[in-house]
């Protein structure tokens, strides 16, 4: 951080503007990523909850199965012990309930780790941006004063 400050002080005001613009872009991009990670995490969490809802006692219960978004057919749960899980790139795996739950919880944890990392990065960038803006204002004021003297 200290090194960064020194190098910022060496830049002139237009270069600082450039640095500031870049930092702002980065922060915006990272915040968008943060949002999509959050919603992915929520999805995994609700999947885990749904699997937990399936109990041995649900066997034989009837339900409506969506064939399309507007067409449903009646069905019955015959195997509450297994679910089929989407593992990505078009592959699905039949798993026991317990396996599915542990898969989803590990996914939630994985996303959480990334969220934490991302949060730290965003905070660091915001700090950088702040010191950049501070130095920029200082420089601009100096230049204004110098301009006033010679004019």
């Amino acid at each position: 951080m200290a090194e960064k400050q020194i190098s910022l002080g060496d830049l002139n005001s237009a270069q600082l503007q450039e640095v500031k613009r870049q930092l702002e872009e980065e922060i915006e991009h990272l915040s968008t990523s943060f949002g999509s990670l959050r919603s992915a995490q929520a999805k995994y969490r609700s999947c885990a909850n749904d699997v937990q809802e399936m109990k041995p006692s649900t066997k034989g219960k009837s339900m409506l199965v969506p064939l399309t978004s507007s067409l449903y057919v009646p069905g019955r749960i015959t195997d509450p012990e297994h679910v089929v899980v989407d593992i990505g790139t078009g592959y699905y795996v039949k798993k026991t309930r317990q396996e599915a739950i542990s898969l989803y919880t590990s996914k939630v944890k994985f996303v959480q780790e990334n969220l934490d990392k991302l949060q730290a990065t965003i905070e660091r960038k915001q700090d950088n941006l702040q010191s950049c803006v501070g130095i920029l204002q200082m420089k601009m004021q100096e230049e204004r004063q110098q301009g006033g003297v010679s004019a």
Binding site: S13, A14, T89, Y92, V93, K94, G147, S150, A151
Partner: protein
């Protein structure tokens, strides 16, 4: 005199084209990154399967049972392909970056002398030259070496100096 801004425009357009290319390539690179991490997590999942886990592949709207070993080797091949693609795109990125840098320094070299002439002109016919300098310099807003060249050339006379100051402050404002 009028020719220089036009040539300048052509050069900057070429530079912008390179930048656009760069952006498109970066987007492709990011997509590959995304595919790579997805395939990696699928492979990780496939590796921990037990005998009671059946693997299905989504074909159209239906799920077809698949041999787990086959699925694994398919995903592995996919990963290899993605890695090769990433290497190829990295090469492209480097090339475009070098070209853009070349163009940038070319523009700087070719047109900085033009700005020197314009400013020394401004010492003589101040009214018009003022606007002219501003108009050409405003495009150059990222280049500070040129701003100092302008100051140095114009430092001979008081009028010239204040012009250069004016240009410099305009430069700074246009950079905002």
């Amino acid at each position: 005199m009028a020719a220089a801004p036009q040539a300048y425009q052509v050069a900057t357009q070429e530079f912008q084209k390179l930048q656009q290319q760069m952006e498109a390539t970066i987007a492709a690179r990011q997509k590959l990154d995304y595919q790579q991490s997805e395939s990696e997590s699928v492979l990780k999942e496939l590796k921990v399967l037990k005998s009671h886990n059946t693997v299905y592949k989504l074909i159209g709207p239906g799920l077809m049972p698949q041999d787990p070993e086959e699925a694994k080797s398919t995903v592995e091949k996919r990963l290899e392909f993605i890695k090769k693609e990433i290497d190829r795109i990295e090469g492209q990125l480097k090339e475009i970056g070098e070209n853009a840098e070349k163009k940038r320094s070319e523009v700087r070299l070719r047109f900085s002398s033009f700005f020197q002439v314009t400013v020394s002109l401004s010492q003589f016919k101040n009214g018009q030259a003022d606007v002219y300098v501003y108009g050409s310099m405003a495009i150059f807003n990222e280049d500070h070496e040129d701003a100092s060249v302008v100051t140095a050339t114009a430092a001979g006379s008081r009028i010239g100096l204040s012009y250069a100051k004016g240009v410099e402050s305009m430069l700074k404002r246009s950079a905002c």
